[in-house]
């Protein structure tokens, strides 16, 4: 069986809702998604042999605000705002938040929390650096890499085997940090660069404080007494080997984590660190769950840096693109800017292909992003997101490192909020600017959920600068300014496949509110095993020197100079005897499986020839078919 995968995406960019965008692209995305007319029209009456699909809009409640003016850099005069931003509510250009609060509709009061800093902001003139303007930022658009769904990677993956009873075989209970292991074992890591998240912080005593998580942190921190250090290390070392010491938490499994920590004599400070920053749970979380979460954190510590987390350079949206790249190497074809209107079925109701822009493609399997899920499963949990661009880091002592902060719930925002700051060093923003991502489970609108958290962060950032232990010079303490903020919500359409669709149509979810990719990896793995039982999930991708490039005449004409030609001519014997069926299938699959996650457009596995004796021929034809389709639509095709 030969597969050629083909991906259709409604977006003009890769990775769909996992994408990382430049500033201009982000602003375009905003105007697209705040435009009510962008909703797909209701499905057209189904032709015979087709089942219509509807693409629902999952992103909603998009609000963006500028706190700076659009100044033409040449004239220095405030100019009219460019019309491209009309879709989103805007700040009045003269001043920042304060006037806007009176102008905006209800719910926007939250946007004004920065007003206490107003006096300071009013006189930034002495600074030599030119003031930030919208225009100036847009000119640097390509220096921004802003994630729609920022996620960190746990540095180490492990699968936990648990036996409830000595006679039963161990069962995989949960796996964690699987993505890093996958990136390594599949050699996909070579497409990406990483930084470790430099500093974990937690709000404590009205300031941001470093989280003593690693041994070195615990050793050096001055905020924790030696006895506390021992208690903390004891707890952490037992958590790291959780399975070996069930007696340590016996009786507490389902009780709140806070009770367990109390039983371990942990002080208030430590309880805060462990609960909110290390386990990243709430005090009410059941103990066993919280301990597992702690363990997951600990197992990743110390592999690549002082924190358990990795952050891809240029944003976590790079990760899906890495999978795309690998997929492309093995013949995956990408169609951007087009969606799917319907699936075609045969008389038994089995999937035969898709209709996209009126054109038919044959396929046997179809993976769709969850925007195509039938409306009936609406109402799953959603995510609230905020993207904030500031002119200073949240925590100056950490310089330009990637920061991860988990804001515990407080009166202003009832749920915990994950905060990630990426700056110039992580190529997220041009020098002097910082992109701060906030993510939480949706309760109200994104702005209602997260604007209080943004305000809280600003206060914390100022207070942390004043800390005499950290920065002795008080005159350097200046509030960070929010130059731009974007709020949006995303529904999660989890649930069963819609009825009426053929069996071989699968859905995969969009980004969740967790800090890592674990759910996505797990879903991809499950999907893959369900569709290709017995196949290895993401086998190691071959190194360039292990690949044989065919030089068949017609193929070489088509590929032109795109293919490397360094392979020794004598080594290539394009005979079918060297092509084992397994390798052909395997070659098609590694890209296919991750790409389910990698791009949230549509994946179409185009099967071109069923004749198992003619893999090579079939593959070639499949390729050409795809090529033709691609050329016909003028879609972009990415080569590796």
């Amino acid at each position: 069986m030969t597969l050629c995968s083909c991906r259709h995406s409604r977006n003009t960019h890769y990775s769909g809702e996992w994408a990382v965008l430049g500033l201009t692209a982000l602003l375009n995305w905003v105007s697209q998604h705040s435009d009510a007319g962008a909703e797909t029209p209701p499905p057209a009456p189904a032709e015979p042999g087709t089942r219509a699909l509807r693409h629902r809009r999952l992103v909603h409640g998009v609000v963006q605000r500028w706190a700076i003016e659009y100044v033409d850099q040449d004239t220095g005069a405030p100019a009219a705002q460019s019309s491209e931003e009309e879709g989103a509510p805007k700040e009045s250009p003269e001043t920042a938040e304060a006037p806007s609060a009176s102008v905006e509709e209800p719910g926007s009061e939250d946007a004004a929390p920065a007003s206490p800093e107003e006096p300071v902001k009013a006189q930034p003139a002495p600074r030599k650096i030119p003031e930030w303007t919208i225009n100036r930022m847009k000119k640097l658009s390509r220096r921004f890499n802003i994630d729609l769904a920022p996620k960190v990677l746990y540095s180490r993956g492990a699968i936990v085997l648990v036996t409830d009873h000595p006679t039963t075989r161990p069962q995989v209970l949960y796996s964690r940090g699987a993505l890093v292991e996958l990136l390594i074992s599949s050699s996909i890591a070579r497409y990406a660069e990483f930084r470790s998240v430099g500093q974990l912080l937690t709000p404590l005593g009205g300031r941001l404080q470093p989280v003593p998580s690693s041994r070195a942190d615990v050793f050096t921190t001055k905020h924790v007494s030696v006895v506390e250090k021992r208690l903390l290390m004891k707890l952490l070392s037992f958590c790291a080997e959780l399975e070996k010491h069930p007696e340590e938490y016996a009786g507490f499994e389902e009780k709140p984590f806070s009770e367990f920590l109390k039983s371990r004599r942990l002080t208030h400070n430590l309880t805060h660190h462990v609960t909110h920053a290390i386990a990243m749970v709430t005090p009410e979380t059941p103990t066993l769950e919280a301990l597992r979460s702690t363990q997951k954190f600990l197992l990743s510590l110390g592999r690549y840096g002082n924190t358990p987390f990795l952050w891809p350079m240029y944003g976590s949206g790079e990760i899906p693109q890495c999978f795309c790249r690998l997929c492309a190497v093995f013949g995956g074809v990408y169609h951007l800017s087009r969606g799917v209107e319907a699936v075609t079925v045969d008389e038994d109701g089995a999937l035969t292909g898709v209709v996209s822009d009126g054109q038919r493609f044959t396929c046997r399997r179809l993976v769709l992003e969850d925007a195509y899920r039938p409306e009936t499963v609406e109402g799953g949990d959603g995510v609230s997101r905020a993207v904030v661009i500031t002119d200073g880091p949240l925590y100056p002592p950490a310089d330009d490192q990637v920061l991860l902060i988990r804001l515990p719930a407080c009166d202003d925002h009832p749920g915990p909020v994950t905060v990630l700051q990426a700056g110039p060093a992580a190529s997220a923003a041009p020098a002097g600017l910082y992109v701060i991502h906030l993510t939480c489970a949706a309760r109200g609108s994104a702005e209602e959920d997260l604007a209080p958290a943004v305000a809280r962060l600003q206060q914390l950032a100022v207070a942390s600068q004043e800390d005499p232990d950290e920065t002795p010079a008080p005159e350097t303490a200046r509030p960070i300014r929010v130059l731009y903020s974007l709020y949006f919500s995303r529904r999660c359409g989890r649930g069963a496949n819609g009825e009426g669709l053929p069996d071989n149509v699968a859905f995969c979810s969009g980004p969740d509110d967790a800090i890592g990719f674990d759910a996505a990896v797990q879903e991809a793995r499950d999907l893959f095993t369900a569709h290709f039982p017995g196949e290895e999930f993401l086998p190691r991708a071959p190194d360039p020197e292990e690949i044989i490039f065919f030089d068949e005449p017609n193929e070489s004409v088509v590929t032109g100079g795109a293919q490397p030609t360094e392979a020794a001519p004598s080594g290539q014997e394009p005979g079918p005897e060297t092509a084992e069926p397994e390798s052909a299938t395997g070659a098609g699959d590694p890209g296919a499986a991750p790409a389910e996650k990698a791009e949230t457009g549509i994946e179409v596995a185009v099967e071109t020839k069923e004749d198992k004796g003619e893999e090579l021929k079939g593959a070639k034809e499949g390729d050409e078919e795809a090529k033709e389709a691609a050329v016909g639509d003028g879609a972009q095709i990415e080569t590796a």
Binding site: F219, V227, R230, G331, I547, I548
Partner: protein, 555 residues
């Protein structure tokens, strides 16, 4: 556009790799041969230097080629301008760094780097310190880099304070770094030397260091690196050598005097002198034959009577004088063995002991905590903590059974110290160490004045009596002694030696190779395998010509 991809089989890859390797090898061999030939012909040009770097980049541990490389540079040093040399050596720094990338622990590359720095007309030492910082960040335990660091720090004349800050940073990132702790102890002693206190460095710094180790210990009590440093902090300054006793030996035609010192010293260094009525004797013999020892014997000229022994402290310069056969000198404040802890340091250490005990409550099974508490109690007041120390040592034997022998020896030393103290207080000259589970005998320099030593029923494996030049009776029955060392025959006053039920297998085990020992009159070796050796009695009689009783039988 995408080509159809196929993956090569393992065999294909293997074959390709083999060919690749063959090619590489042929190139390497040809290059090496060429360079050896050129060296013979004394070719010293840039091309050769380039060829050398090609081979060395692949194999940075080829020291012959490094030598050749240096020959070329020396040639240039003589022939070319100093600017040229500077430039070439500078590029060689880059080259060695490239080699260190291949092998960061390459002896040759580090050595060559030192050589380059020494021969450079204008070396940039600061840059080298930064290089060390980089390498130590990658591997804090790279000892080559530590060595190089000391070299460049000396070259740059960098202050110890700056170095201390660097060592601080390394410990902060990972405190399991012996090198960094060790470096720290050096720097601190240099920066904040203490004078006249028991602490190795000035007191407020000392406190800070204790706190630092305490933080490390509470963070991870099972990491031994900070404990080693802790041990250095607790060790205190050892008091200078002093005279412990001065005994006139029995027998011989000339009067001989044995002097025991508290610490090993050379007689000339401390001005050790025996005074007699008319003359001063400065010729001393060591019963162990060492140049620096704790026990020394001098003979008074015939007819003269030794009156006193005098020595000058090498540290304070004070003179100590002890009359022969007079009362023993007053003990220092900390007892004969206790360290010279000043009151201030004492209170510091008491505080430290409380901290350790607190940690011990949280970590009852941690051997480092327990061992450190033993060391502290021992240093502070061994008598007050007598029972606790013995208890802790017993616990250590259980916890850390792999080092049981070490703890047994530790306990033996502790017991012997207490016995010696009580003997000294009561003014006795007989030492009873029987039935103490001893595995070794320590402080034999404190036993010089003893006339009798009883070490029956212990677990001794060796019996070193070389310091016991004045002792007349030794019994060490029911041990596991494999070897007995006696003082040289002419310095030996031993008359009765009982070694029944031990593990002596040959006559030479009993006496070593020196002899004879005419002073010994009674000897008993029953219950030893040596008794099975045919003719052993004859051999013994040969070595102990004065023997009157052997194994309880009169000869």
């Amino acid at each position: 556009m995408h080509g159809r991809l196929r993956v090569k089989t393992t065999e294909q890859q293997e074959a390709e790799k083999a060919i690749e390797r063959q090619k590489k090898l042929a190139k390497y061999n040809a290059g090496t041969a060429l360079l050896f030939k050129k060296r013979k012909e004394r070719v010293y040009d840039e091309e050769t230097a380039l060829q050398l770097s090609q081979i060395l980049a692949v194999n940075p541990d080829f020291y012959t080629l490094w030598n050749y490389r240096r020959e070329i540079f020396l040639h240039w040093k003589a022939e070319k301008s100093s600017e040229y040399l500077q430039q070439m050596l500078k590029s060689d720094l880059q080259f060695t760094e490239q080699c260190l990338g291949v092998n960061p622990k390459s002896y040759c590359a580090w050595h060559h780097r030192c050589w380059v720095m020494e021969n450079m007309p204008c070396p940039d030492w600061e840059a080298e310190i930064q290089l060390c910082d980089r390498y130590l960040k990658l591997d804090g335990r790279n000892f080559h880099c530590w060595d190089y660091r000391r070299f460049v720090v000396a070259g740059a004349g960098r202050s110890a304070a700056d170095e201390l800050a660097s060592a601080d940073r390394l410990i902060e990132t990972n405190f399991s770094n012996y090198s960094s702790w060790h470096y720290r102890s050096h720097l601190l002693s240099e920066l904040f030397p203490a004078s006249g206190t028991a602490t190795p460095i000035i007191e407020d710094k000392y406190l800070h260091e204790l706190e630092l180790v305490q933080n490390a210990a509470f963070t991870d009590p099972s990491d031994q690196a900070p404990w080693f440093y802790h041990r250095w902090l607790l060790q205190g300054r050892r008091p200078a050598a002093s005279i412990l006793s001065c005994s006139v030996l029995r027998g011989g035609q000339m009067a001989r005097v044995a002097v025991a010192l508290s610490r090993p010293a050379r007689p000339a260094d401390v001005g050790l002198t025996l005074e007699t009525g008319e003359s001063r004797v400065t010729e001393w013999a060591s019963p162990t034959g060492e140049s620096s020892g704790t026990v020394w014997v001098a003979a008074a000229p015939a007819g003269s009577t030794p009156t006193a022994v005098v020595m000058t402290s090498s540290e304070s310069g004070a003179e100590q004088r002890l009359a022969c056969n007079g009362p023993p000198p007053a003990l220092p404040s900390g007892g004969a063995f206790g360290s010279d802890t000043s009151a201030a340091a004492g209170s510091l250490l008491n505080q430290e002991l409380d901290n350790i005990w607190q940690l011990g409550e949280m970590e009852p099974d941690n051997k480092w905590v327990l061992l450190s508490s033993v060391v502290l109690m021992w240093a502070l007041d061994p008598r007050q903590h007598h029972d606790k120390i013995l208890e802790a040592v017993d616990e250590l034997m259980k916890l850390d059974s792999l080092r049981r022998g070490y703890y047994r020896d530790l306990r033996s030393r502790f017991i012997i110290e207490r016995k010696l103290e009580s003997v000294r207080e009561s003014g006795l000259i007989e030492l009873d160490l029987s039935c103490c589970h001893l595995t070794a005998i320590y402080h034999t320099n404190h036993m010089v004045a003893m006339t009798t030593l009883d070490a029956d029923n212990n677990q001794l494996r060796a019996l070193d009596l070389r310091h016991l030049v004045a002792t007349e009776r030794v019994t060490a029955k029911a041990n596991r002694v494999r070897r007995v060392s006696l003082p040289p025959g002419e310095l030996c006053c031993l008359r009765r030696l009982a070694l029944n039920d031990n593990d002596l297998r040959e006559v030479s085990d009993l006496v070593g190779e020196d002899g004879p020992w005419p002073s010994v009159e009674e000897l008993s070796v029953t219950g030893n395998p040596v008794c099975e050796v045919p003719g052993y009695e004859e051999q013994l009689k040969e070595r102990f010509p004065g023997l009157k009783m052997l194994n309880g039988k009169a000869l």
